[in-house]
Structures are given as C-alpha cells and as structure tokens.
Amino acid sequence: MTDEDPLARVALHVWQPPPPRAVDAALLLNRMVTPAARPRPTKAIIAILATANVALVGALLFVLLRSEPPAPVPLAAGGPVVDSGTRDALHRLEEQQAQLARQLADVDQLEATIQSLSTRVQQCEQKTVVTPPGKPTPKPVAPSDIMLEPTIANTPPSGMPDSLDRAAIARTVTTIRPAINRCGAAFTESMPIRVKVRVKVTPLGRPSASVLEGSYDPSLGQCVVREMDKATFPRTKSGGTFSYPFTFGLELE
C-alpha cells in the first residue's frame, strides 16, 4: 500500500455498468416544464394588467363611496342603531302620540263634567211637577228646581246682588207664566210635554233663552223661548245663567 494512492495499481474501470435502458425522451419532454418553454408575460402586459387592476379598484371605491348609506345614529344607549331619517320619523310619532294622549285626557275631563251635569239634571227631573189634563199649564217651579250654573250665587249680598238667585228667577218667571201657559194651550195631549230652556241673563237683567231639552213639537219650545226673552230680571253685578224646566200636560202625582 502506498501513501499516495492505495488503488494505484488496481484497474477500477473493469467495473462497468451495463448499457443503460433506452430512455423515452418524448415522455420526459412531455413531463418537463421548462421556464423557457413557458410563455413569459412581457413587461408591457404586466404594466397593462397592473393599470387595469388599479382602475378597477378605483372604480369600486368610487361606487362604494357614492352609495354610502347615512351614518347610523344610536337611538338609545344599548338600543338598536338606526339612521337619522328613521330617528326623525320616530320622534314625530312620539310627538303625535303625546298630543293624542293630551286630547284623550281632555275628553275624559269633559265626560266627567257631562256625567256630573246629567246627574244633576236627573235630580231636577225627579222633582218636576206636571199640570192636570186639559190644562197644559205648567205649575210653578220650586226655587230648588231651578238649576243655577256656577256663576250665579245662591245668596246675593245686600244692595245689588252679585248674580241672580233662585228666588229672583222664580219671581220673574211667575210674571211671564200666563204667556207661557198660552204656549201650551194648543197642546192637549194625554202625555206630559216637557220643555227645558237655558237662559242667560245680562247684568242689566236682559235674558237670552234657548231650548235645552225640546218637546216633540219645536213650536212649543220656540214659543217658550220667545216669551222667556220678554222677561226682565233684576239687575245684578255679573248676571247669570240658569236652566228652567216647564211641563205641560197630565198631573202624575
């Protein structure tokens, strides 16, 4: 063995491989994908594609920015998020709802007032006196049957009273009772006929009557109103308003 080449005297090339198998060059060429065979995009094509890409992105951004919806405004903390238009509509609805609530409260108050008045009218009707048959002349009304409205004081002070009282009203109506009896003379019905008038009296004592509850014949009410307007009430400081019932026909009691 030498230090330089231990195999210097060995014919290594007697060890030879067998002839190689035939290689299918066509198969290899079909399997390969060489960079040179692959069409490479030119710089111009790359530039065109990049420009088209930028233009497309710009167009999309333009469309998105133009069609941007109104910014959502939170309706309440923790509540749903709505846009400003919906928020305004909701506020308008809330205002209308509040207005309707106020109107309903007014209606309720009016109903209570009407109910109160109806109760007092019924009390008045229970004390009504009707005339006997054949004489449809209304009987004198007791002072308590005269319904005074709030502006009329029941007890006038000394001197000129502040407003009409029941006694003064009864005295004045007595003066016009014959004329009112004539109004009912034409009606000889077997059923009582009731006419209730509402009279507003000025401080000078001038009355202005109107039918509050009518009879079956409007002419009777018109006659009663006409005669009532001819009456003269005592002067007062503030006048007054009252309602007065007349009943013509049978005496029920």
Partner: protein, 196 residues
C-alpha cells in the same frame, strides 16, 4: 490486472454550444440530443451508487435525474465555472442522495457487476470484487470515490457537487480508497502481492 486507474479515464465530451442554447430555449430536438448525450453518464453514476436496489429503481432515479436536467437547463450558465457534464452530474448526485434520505431502498440483488463477455476471467473476478468493495463503503465515501475515479471530477468539482469543503473531499476520498483496498486485499490477496 494491475492497470493504472488513470489510464481508463477519458475526457468528457460536452454538447456543442448551439445545441445547448436551443435546448435552453426549449427546442425539443435539442433537448432530445441533450438526453442522448448525457443519459449514459447519468446512468453510470446512478447505477454505481444504487445498483444494489435493483435495475428498476436505478431506471427510476435516472429518469428523475434527467427530468431535473431538462427542467433546469435554462438556468445553466455556459460561462460559469462548471462544465455542463459536471452540472448534470451534480443534479444526478443530489437525486441519488435525496432518494437515500427518503428511506432505504429495497436491497434487490446485492452488489452487481456487469462484465463484458469479452473480458477475461480474471477481470471478471476483479470487477465483482471492486463492486462489492465499493458497495461496502459508507455512502459519503462511495459518492466521492465514484465521482473522482469514474467521472473524473476534480476535488473542487466534487466539493461543489456535494456542497462540502475540498478538505472533506480529500479525507473522504482517502478513506474510501483505503477501504476498497482493504476489502480487495481480503478478497483478492494476489492483487497486492508485489506491494509488500
């Protein structure tokens, strides 16, 4: 027997530049010529490195190596330091080494030796002994020995192909030669009788 190993070495003939350029441009005729020219060289390397795994396995590795050459030929620089044959041997070497890293291949028939029918009986015996001695080497030593003795690569080319230092190439080659000689002394003691 007893011929000098350098006497059998032949200079590697490269493909002409025009065919190479056409092959790099993807021309199928030039690529076919490239295969025809370097297929035996690639087969010889793969066979000496992997003949123990059988002919079909060798054929598969040869195809993989040639396919790697075809797909990479466009990147070969003719003005670079490596010759085309060295560059192709580098590809074939890495295909073989990568195949070994994937796992041991089936040992089909053991070390094989092809002997020309015209070869003398003594050379036949020597060829078989060399084949067995080389197959008994560790793979890093075997590949260095094959590239140096059978493909005439110098130290620098082997170092480039294996991506190792030249000093490592020299040490591996020295151990490989010593190992083959030791094996041959055991199997063929008459071969070195005059050296002692």
């Amino acid at each position: 027997m007893g011929q000098a190993s350098t006497a059998a070495r032949s200079p590697r003939a490269e493909i002409d530049d025009l065919t190479l350029r056409r092959a790099q441009q993807g021309e199928r005729g030039a690529l076919g010529a490239l295969i025809d020219r370097y297929h035996p060289m690639v087969h010889a390397l793969v066979w000496r490195m992997a003949c123990a795994q059988g002919e079909s396995h060798v054929a598969d590795l040869v195809q993989d190596a040639l396919l790697g050459v075809l797909t990479s030929i466009a990147r070969f620089d003719p003005r670079g330091p490596a010759k085309l044959s060295t560059w192709i041997l580098t590809i074939a070497t890495r295909v073989v080494l990568n195949d070994r890293r994937r796992g041991p291949a089936p040992d089909a028939a053991g070390p094989a030796a092809f002997v020309d029918p015209a070869t003398s009986a003594s050379d036949k015996e020597l060829a078989v002994a060399i084949a067995r001695s080389v197959a008994a080497l560790a793979e890093p030593q075997r590949i260095v020995l094959v590239l140096r003795e059978y493909h005439d690569l110098d130290y620098a080319e082997i170092a480039e192909a294996l991506d190792i230092d030249v000093g490592t190439v020299k040490s591996r080659l020295s151990r490989a030669r010593t190992g083959v000689r030791t094996a041959l002394e055991l199997s063929n003691p008459d071969l070195f009788r005059g050296d002692r």
